[in-house]
């Protein structure tokens, strides 16, 4: 049986903050390793809704702190994701390749969002 689902826990009514960093890969990039904060409420409505939906689908608050990987080997990247929705916060580190498609989709979205945040304004 899979992890329990908590639909509605990451609803639109609560503030949602996500800290995201990338570790490893082919090289050490200090800029990517530095955590970036994504404030969902500051995003356009459709992006806010999509990100909340991805967090819910990944069942993020039920994940173990170290999500197991399937043999990524050297140079595989690791992601540290910390999410605070106002009532609970959780930090999860996940290493590639990511087995769970829902978690993989969340990480891909966070990579894009973090990149946008890192670009010089």
């Amino acid at each position: 049986m899979g992890r329990g689902r908590h639909p509605g826990r990451v609803g639109r009514g609560t503030a949602l903050r996500i800290d995201f960093s990338i570790d490893g890969g082919l090289a050490a990039f200090p800029g990517l390793a530095r955590p970036v904060s994504i404030h969902c409420d500051a995003l356009p409505a459709h992006e806010n809704a999509r990100l909340r939906d991805l967090v819910r689908r990944a069942d993020f608050f039920a994940l173990p702190p170290q999500e197991p990987s399937r043999g990524g080997g050297p140079d595989a990247r690791a992601y540290t994701i910390a999410i605070d929705d106002g009532s609970q916060c959780r930090t999860v580190t996940v290493r590639e390749p990511i087995a769970d498609p829902a978690l993989r989709d969340l990480v891909a979205e966070l990579r894009d969002k973090a990149m946008a945040e890192r670009r010089p304004k």
């Binding site: 082919l26 590639e96 993989r104």
Partner: protein, 357 residues
Amino acid sequence: MSLIRARRQHLPGCCILPPDMLRRIALHGSRNQREAALDTLAVDQTLRLGRATYQLLESGARHGLLGVPTTAKQRTIYDAQGHETLPGRMVRAEGAGGVADVEVNEAYDGLGATFDFYAEVYDRNSIDDEGLRLDASVHYGRRYDNAFWNGRQMVFGDGDGDLFNRFTVSLDVIAHELTHGVTGDEAHLVYLDQAGALNESISDVFGSLVKQYARRQSAGEADWLIGEGLFTASVHGVALRSMKAPGTAFDDPVLGRDPQPATMAGYVHTSSDSGGVHTNSGIPNHAFYLAATGLGGFAWEKAGRIWYETLRDKRLKPTATFRQFARCTVQNAAHFFGPAERQTVSAAWAEVGIRAA
């Protein structure tokens, strides 16, 4: 066991380390050591399983009448079509002509150049020295900024197009990743702290040598860059790393500044990136550059040979430190060449702050 491997095991100072030592670390090491040892064992077991399966399936085709493995390349390139499921659709098999997809052709050629280098220079029959077939998947994931060897095959992302180009573009990166397979087969260097930085450095050393060999460049002519061409024009940088001048490869508003030290004075103590494996590798990288340029000529002939024999040396432990590795290279320089080479290699390590003599 191949005859090539059996013959090599009778050479002084050369053998294949059993995974027993890793298992002991997994049982009795510190928490970090245990985790790293388990990861390394997992990759190693995957490699060995893949090898055994391959041998069972294709032993008839691979072996001649005398039981000697052929040294022919067996490359297969797959298209993951933007998914993260491996291997994907087969798009080019060994001997087939080029296709319209540049990533397929670059992967095919890069695997071939790496295979040829190890076979022609060090008489090594593929990654495992037993003719392991070389598989690669391109177009892995969506805007995927990485390439890796997963213990069975190569995986290449397309890059995001903003910071990174396609990951097949750089021959030394392809050879870097395949060399992780060689290290996993020979030295089992734990991917943590100094042993992990040595693991990374060995991949850079042979990654660069594969490129130098393909270009027939001497140590003095080589650029000693790793990953040139990977960055898009918007990135302030020339490559991922510079073995000639660690810490100077990039300085970019998004990626940050190349953090690699060239000497022990700049050694970075960190828990990130498996203990700074991609950072502190700058130190042994620079020692290799100094040794290769000090010895002169083609770097794969002397410096490369010394490092290759050290990688296969039974004295090299999975948890080797920089100093232990350095001492091994100095001893192998004397053993395989002579006192002048020994002195040059020893001086190279001294220049990066490691007393190896």
